[in-house]
Symmetry: C2
Amino acid sequence: MSKETKAKYSYDFPRASVTVDCVLFGLSEDKLKVLLIQRAHDPFAGKWALPGGFIEMEESLEASALRELEEETGLSKIYLEQLYTFGDCGRDPRGRTISVAYFALVQAAEHHAKGADDASAAEWFPVDKLPKLAFDHAKILDCALTRLRAKVRYQPIGFELLPRKFTLSQLQRLYELILGRELDKRNFRKKILGMSVLEELDEVEAGGARRPAKLYRFHRKQYDALVKQGFHFEI
Amino acid sequence: MSKETKAKYSYDFPRASVTVDCVLFGLSEDKLKVLLIQRAHDPFAGKWALPGGFIEMEESLEASALRELEEETGLSKIYLEQLYTFGDCGRDPRGRTISVAYFALVQAAEHHAKGADDASAAEWFPVDKLPKLAFDHAKILDCALTRLRAKVRYQPIGFELLPRKFTLSQLQRLYELILGRELDKRNFRKKILGMSVLEELDEVEAGGARRPAKLYRFHRKQYDALVKQGFHFEI
DNA sequence: CCAAAAGTGTTCACGGTACACCCATGC
DNA sequence: GCATGGGTGTACCGTGAACACTTTTGG
C-alpha cells in the first residue's frame, strides 16, 4: 500500500494483518448495552465500530485485548473471553485482516468513555438499538450476544455486570434482560439461593420509597469449591 | 503489494504469520482417535503434530482448514468447527505465529492417511495414548477434547463419527467413549428414541454370532424441524 | 444347546414450574 | 394510609436414574 516509505518489514510470503476486537457489555438504565466507538479515519470514517486494533508483536492476544480495553475505557474489566476469529477475505477493504474477537463484561456502563486515538467518540448503545456498524462488526456483535445468552445460563458470569453488592431483584432483572423473558420471582430466588454461592450481607439497599432489599455478594471461593465437587451452575 | 524487490512482501509494521491447525477425531477399534502427522522438517523435525499450515491470502480460514484436511486425508469431512485461536508469543520458534485451530469429526478412522508434503507420516492415535507433540499442540488437543466432550452432550454431532447407518449399541458405545463413563442401555435407548430424531431402517446388522441389531439413521430434517420448534437435544 | 449381544418397563426421587398473599419502608 | 417493590411456601408433573430378564441368532 504505502510503497513510498521504506520497506521496514519484509517477508517471503504475503502476510495478513491480525487485529483484536472487543465486544464490551455493560448494564445501565435497565438495558444491556455495548460499547462502540466512532471511527475518526477511513475506512468507515464516521461509522460506529467495536473497539479494537492491531496486535503488537510482543504481546499475547489476550494482552492485546486488555490493552485495547484499557485504552478505550478506564474500567476494571472483569471477565474477558475469546469469542471467535473472523478471517473472511473481504472483511477489511485495506487488505486481508484476521480479527480475533473477545467479549468482556464490565460493571456499571455509566462511566463515560471518551473517544481517543482513532476514535472520535465512544458511547454505550442498547443492544436492541444499534447503529449500522463498520466492517463485519454486526456479525461479531451478534456472535457475542449469542454466546453471552448461552453462557450466562450455565456459568456464573452474570455477576460481572453488577456491582459487587447487589439485590436479588437486580440479579433477576439482569437475567431477564439477557435471556429476554420473565422469570418467576419465587422460583428464581429458590434456585439461586439453593446453590449457596451467594453470601448474604448484613446490609440493605439504601434509598427508595419501599422496603429495603437485602444485599448479596457472589461467593467465588464457595463456587470454586463446589465446582471441584462436581457442582454445575445453571439458571 | 507485489513489489519486485528481493523481499517480495514488505509492510510498514511487523506482521505475525497466521496458520490453521486441525484436530481431526475419528473412531476405530473401539477407541476415540486423533490424526497426527510426523513433521519432516525443523522445527520439531520427527515430532508428531496436528495437521495444519499457513493460510493463503485469498481463502477464508475455514477454507484453509478444509484444504489442509483434504491434503492430509482424502476423507469426507463431516463436521468442522472453529475451536480457538492460539497466539502466545513463544509458541513457534520461527517467530510470532497465530494459529486458528479447528476441530473436525470424520467417519471411519480406518482409512490410511499417508504422509505428504512436509509430513513424513500420518497416523491415528488413541486420545489416551498420545506421543509428545510439537509446538503447543498438546494444549490445542486438550482444548478440542474438552470442547468435544461438552458439545457432544447437547448437539447431535456424535453421529458424524459413525457410518450413516448404525445400531443403537454403536451409538451408545460412542457416547460412552467420549464421555468416559458407562450409560444404562435402557435409559439411553428410551431417551434417544424419545427424541424422534432417529429413523429406524428396515435393515439389520450383518454378521456376528448373535441376534442382529436394527439399523438407524440420523434424521437431520426431522431434527432441524424440531429445533425450529424449540427442541433441545441433550444426552 | 450355548454364547453373545439385542431388546424391553416399572418404580422412585428430585427438580422445574405454576401460582398469591403479606411485609417493610418512605412519603 | 398508600404506593412500591421485598419477601415467602406448596402442590403437581415430568424427567433422570436405578434395575433384570427374555429373545434371537450363529456356531
